[in-house]
């Protein structure tokens, strides 16, 4: 090697070291066996190891199980197949520091061809703060959703009271009739058993209404799983019928057989469906009929459409109805549609509004199927 090229290399090294030292992200280089060759300042800080201790060790010490045991095989597979699972893609992974704490990080990897051997450079960004902010936002959103659900149930109090009053009336009347029949000696045992059975069934009916309300009122983190959308819509429908009866509106549910399962949080989707039905009932007093239709668009999307035969949405307001605090109701909070849309978006879906050619408005909840997820 000439002196000149020596100097050039020294300069390149110095520049490289300066670059590594100044980087905010943790940067490390490993060889094709996973042995750490370079470990910058930010990496020392992030993982809590001085470079002197970590150089020459396998990079897997910076990961929690099961990645720790599997990492060598990841490299081996890449070298064997040339397939890129992370190189040039980058992804969110987990790291483990010297204290044993596991934390989320963003990792991007590049390959360096050094002679016949490959090396890899990893750039690692600490995303704990971002995760924390995201978590807080999600919590805020869930809190807002919960408060809105409680508000909805509050508005439905009169209807709910009416609905629970029905089975209570039947229970009281069955009991009074049985008492009269017994004291006048008209009641045979078999008949009495029948009446007791009916009384019990009415008590269960009242309990079922309370169960539905409690289910919707409880505070819980959103959790998406594979669910039958028709069953979820039906639960919301049972609650909405409370208001429908109060306002003299008929609801027809056109179910769809063979609907692919959806990837949803059932309580959140119930909240959206309930909100749409109640809007249809309340904001369009002329509406006498609401049709709910479940269908699928191929194997990718499932749709629940809520249509009414009211006056429809004024054309100049159609772009505003999803805005927070927009309401046409005297006592509306204006949060219903806004929250409904954010719930559906968080599911990777869409909430769409349109006026029907035959009159009335239609709202469609479009959700990805569990298959497409």
């Amino acid at each position: 090697m000439t002196q000149r090229s020596d100097r050039m290399e020294n300069l390149a090294d110095a520049r490289f070291d300066a670059l590594l030292g100044a980087a905010v992200d943790a940067i490390l280089v490993i060889d094709d066996k996973g042995v750490i060759e370079t470990f910058n300042k930010a990496a020392e800080k992030l993982f809590g190891y001085p470079a002197a201790d970590i150089l020459g060790q396998n990079v897997s010490v910076l990961m929690p199980e099961p990645y720790r045991s599997e990492h060598d095989s990841y490299i081996a597979r890449h070298l064997r197949t040339g397939e890129n699972r992370i190189i040039g893609i980058g992804r969110e992974v987990k790291g483990q520091n010297a204290n044993g704490d596991v934390f989320p990080l963003d990792l991007s990897v590049g390959a360096i061809h050094h002679g016949t051997r490959k090396k890899f450079v990893g750039i690692i960004r600490d995303i704990r703060e971002r995760k924390k902010t995201e978590g807080m936002l999600r919590q805020q959103q869930e809190r807002l959703e919960h408060v809105t659900r409680l508000g909805t149930l509050g508005e439905m109090a009169a209807g709910i009271a009416h609905e629970i009053n029905q089975p209570l009336t039947a229970i009281a009347t069955y009991a009074q009739a049985a008492r009269r029949l017994i004291s006048s000696g008209q009641l045979e045992e078999e008949r009495l058993l029948e009446i007791l059975g009916k009384t019990g069934a009415q008590a269960e009916r009242a309990g079922e209404i309370i169960r539905r309300i409690r289910n919707l009122a409880r505070k819980q983190p959103a959790e998406r799983e594979r669910h039958d959308l028709v069953a979820v819509v039906q639960e919301a429908l049972r609650l909405a019928e409370v208001d429908a009866r109060l306002y003299g509106v008929r609801i027809e549910f056109r179910e769809h057989e063979d609907l692919p399962p959806a990837w949803i949080d059932p309580v959140q989707i119930q909240q959206v469906v309930l909100n749409l039905i109640r809007n249809a009932i309340e904001t369009v007093p002329a509406s006498r009929q609401i049709v709910i239709q479940a269908s699928n668009r191929g194997r990718e999307e499932v749709v629940v459409e809520v249509s009414d035969d009211g006056p429809g949405i004024p054309e100049d307001l159609i772009s505003e109805i999803f805005n927070p605090f927009f309401s046409t109701k005297e006592l509306g909070t204006g949060m219903g549609l806004s929250i409904s849309r954010s719930i559906v978006s968080a599911h990777g879906g869409r909430l769409e509004a349109k006026n029907n050619p035959t009159g009335g408005a239609s709202f469609s909840i479009v959700l990805p199927t569990a298959v497409s997820n």
Partner: protein, 203 residues
Amino acid sequence: MTTQTGTVFVVDDDEAVRDSLSLLMEAESLSVECFSSPIEFLERCPDDRPGCLLLDVRMPQMSGLELRDELQKRGSMMPIVFITGHGDVPMAVDAMKHGAIDFIQKPFRDEELLERVHQALERNQVDRCSAAKIQDVSERIARLTPRETEVMAMVVAGNANKVIAQELGVSQRTVEIHRARVMEKMGARSIAHLVQLAGVLDK
């Protein structure tokens, strides 16, 4: 309780409420028929049969109040006991103003409900009686000749035969003949009875 004729017609969209009410009426030895909607009641029970209505205020499609209006339009005189849920007081007040015999809130005490039902049945019996009387008297009056009608009006007003004869420009003998025909056609046993019969129409 006195023996009452008539059927209790229960109109409520809630099957369990209907069924339990039916049982309660049965326990009280009352005849009962149930309908799940006002429309079903109008279709299946077109005649004005003796009895009373036990009617839920709130029902889909046609409310209890709308059924009441329809029945009034059809000239029904069936008394109505409205049953209301929680918080339907304004509706109930409206029902009362328009001649509902009473309203009772769900869930009800049996004594209270049955008392109202018995009152309603009794009122229907009385009303039907007087309605029958009115119809009978009207039919009898329709059979009178114009002259006989004139004579009857003057007799009921308390005029003596002599006055009536002068007024109509006929002989007293003729007035007596008209009068005898009036008494016969009206089925009146005495002048007092005739006055009473004429009074039926004034109500």
